[in-house]
Amino acid sequence: MTRKVGGNLLKSQFGEIGVHQQLNEANQQINSLTQEIEQLKAQGKKKSARQKGKELRAVLDDQGIFQIPLSKIEQNPEQPRQTFSQQSINQLAYSIERDGQQEPILVFKKDDQSYLLFDGERRWRAIRQLNWEKIDAIIVPKRDSENLEQPESIRRRALLANHHREDINPLDLAEALVKEISLKEGISEELIPRILTTAVVRLNRQEKLAAITKLVIAGKNEQEQGLNDLSKQKLVRGDEEKILKFLLSLQLNPHSVKNNIFPTLKLFDDLKIAIRTMDLGGHHARVLQRITPEVTGQSPSKTQNIRQRLIKKVIEEKLSISATRQYVAELLAKNNSKPTLSPETQGIIRNLDKLDPNSLESDNLKILEKRLAGKLKDIRRVLRNQST
């Protein structure tokens, strides 16, 4: 197949621009709607303001609803005070208690510890009255001329929405996922990969992974139903279900995320940099992660140099994963006096180490003795042949 010179270059260069265009359009809509709402409220046109509020929520909808602690939300001092009768608040509180909060409020974010109420004061008062800890809210990008930063949350969500484009590296995806799940579901960031691993391992053991894989491309309802079933069978619990639900909603296979995406979070810094800036593949990086000071017998900085050299080689020569593995094995054998054991050997030795003769009956011991003796004979024979 002849490669066209210059072919496919543009796709990788221009791939992400669509996302930026979308972000820009969304920002424009948000700005104009926010302005309109403020004007309408100042004019006392409550109904129109509410209508525009609905539109704004629709635009911000795919940004996600967050559960924000009520203690962090203040009333907006710039907004005109609104009066609500105690009776109407009571009514709303009762209906929210019974049916849950149907519509999220809108807030501005000042920083991680404080939010300003923008729309939904009635709901806010009612839920405060109920003494709930958290309230469902959508965060509106802040309309403040000093704050000229691109809302990180919009960028992250756009990234997640477009993760199936080829040019998002596994590390950035992992970080965005963890951050988003942590904010959305209130689970601590460091725990998320472990929780996913536990769930996936359990599902694997119970042979339910195939079912999960099917859900990846299923519709939202099917996904919820499927997870519900697993939960009923006690195969997934609380936080696990939340994480699985989130990944499935992005059409990400949880098994693949556990094996290929989240592990990038634990890579050495230099490998992370290489993934982000030099296009190093996730699989290659994990192979290179094996180059640790313990295994090379060198200082961490010398070990880093060794890794760096190999990263360069992998990228410049476009090495395959198996070629990379070979190089790593050779490198470790060269730099280390300890012989490198194949995974197979390591497994066997692990089992051998676990074996405790004191815990076995004599019948079993006798069979083991015979078998091991036979194996030992074979090993010695092969070694003899190898050395000749």
């Binding site: 066209k4 010179v5 210059g6 072919g7 270059l9 543009l10 796709k11 260069q13 221009f14 992400e16 621009i17 669509g18 930026h20 265009q21 972000l23 820009n24 920002n27 424009q28 700005n31 001329s145 000229l148 930063e149 691109q150």
Partner: protein, 268 residues
């Protein structure tokens, strides 16, 4: 009604100034008055138009640096000897490097140029901003003052890469600066197109539908010709240097697009 057009590229040598100069000439031929503002520290407009090196107070730098600009834009008429009317240049030069830094520190920074034009409007129908080949405070000031944007590129990887980063930067800056209305990206112009080169043909072939899918117009390419260099060496547009050269017609679609935009604005 006035059109203000930034010519940006984020890659050197993509033909910004050539485009600016030729566009200025052709619009004037259609009876429109043009001000060509050079925001490039290299001062290439002066070079390509055969102007002598300007004094500092004859340049845009002095206007931007003035604490109290009073509206006397330093303009010089272009191609008077060739009986061309209606084209004026506001020259740039090295001091723009300092201005670039000043803009970063000025409280109205990005909006400074726009403020100056609001307070002291230029009378011309079209203002062209020839920008430096980077993403910094000078191009930012230009887009904050612009109604339209043109992006010339070479059909080579470095230039297309620069263009893609430029587009991302533009969308970000539109948001950050809260430009309302946002400048319209009038289109991308493939420059110096050499049909004999496979890489040019291949990139052009891929570029057109790619930009189309993003609703960005890709103009017909301006062909490569060494006569462009010769013309600029004597400070003339190709149309005055070799009026019968086939490359002269290559700019017509762009000129027409600009005129159409003016008509649209007038109707509004």
């Amino acid at each position: 009604m006035q059109l203000r057009l930034s010519i940006l590229s984020n890659a050197g040598g993509s033909g910004k100034t050539t485009l600016a100069v030729h566009l200025a000439y052709l619009l004037a031929q259609k009876k429109l008055s043009v001000a060509l503002v050079d925001l490039d520290p290299q001062g290439s407009v002066s070079l390509f138009c055969g102007l002598p090196q300007p004094n500092y107070n004859q340049t845009i730098s002095s206007a931007l640096a003035e604490k109290k600009f009073s509206g006397d834009w330093p303009l010089v008429e272009l191609w008077e000897n060739h009986n061309v009317k209606r084209v004026h240049a506001c020259q740039g030069e090295l001091a723009l490097v300092d201005i670039s830094g000043d803009l970063a520190r000025h409280p109205r920074g990005a909006y400074l140029l726009s403020d100056m034009l609001t307070d002291y409007p230029l009378p011309q129908d079209v203002i062209l901003f020839d920008c430096p080949a980077t993403l910094g405070t000078l191009p930012l000031a230009a887009i904050a003052a612009s109604t339209h944007i043109l992006i010339p590129i070479q059909l080579e990887p470095k230039s297309t890469g620069g263009a893609s980063s430029l587009l991302k930067w533009l969308y970000e800056q539109f948001s950050i600066l809260r430009l309302n209305p946002q400048p319209k990206i009038l289109g991308v112009i493939p420059n110096q197109f050499d049909h004999r080169l496979a890489i040019h043909r291949n990139i052009l072939e891929e570029l057109v539908p790619l930009l189309g899918s993003m609703q960005i117009q890709c103009f017909e390419p301006i062909r490569f010709s060494s006569e462009f260099k010769n013309a600029s060496a004597v400070g003339l547009p190709l149309h005055l240097y070799r009026s019968k050269h086939p490359a002269c017609k290559d700019f017509n679609p762009i000129t027409n697009a600009v005129r159409t935009e003016l008509k649209i604005k007038e109707r509004l």
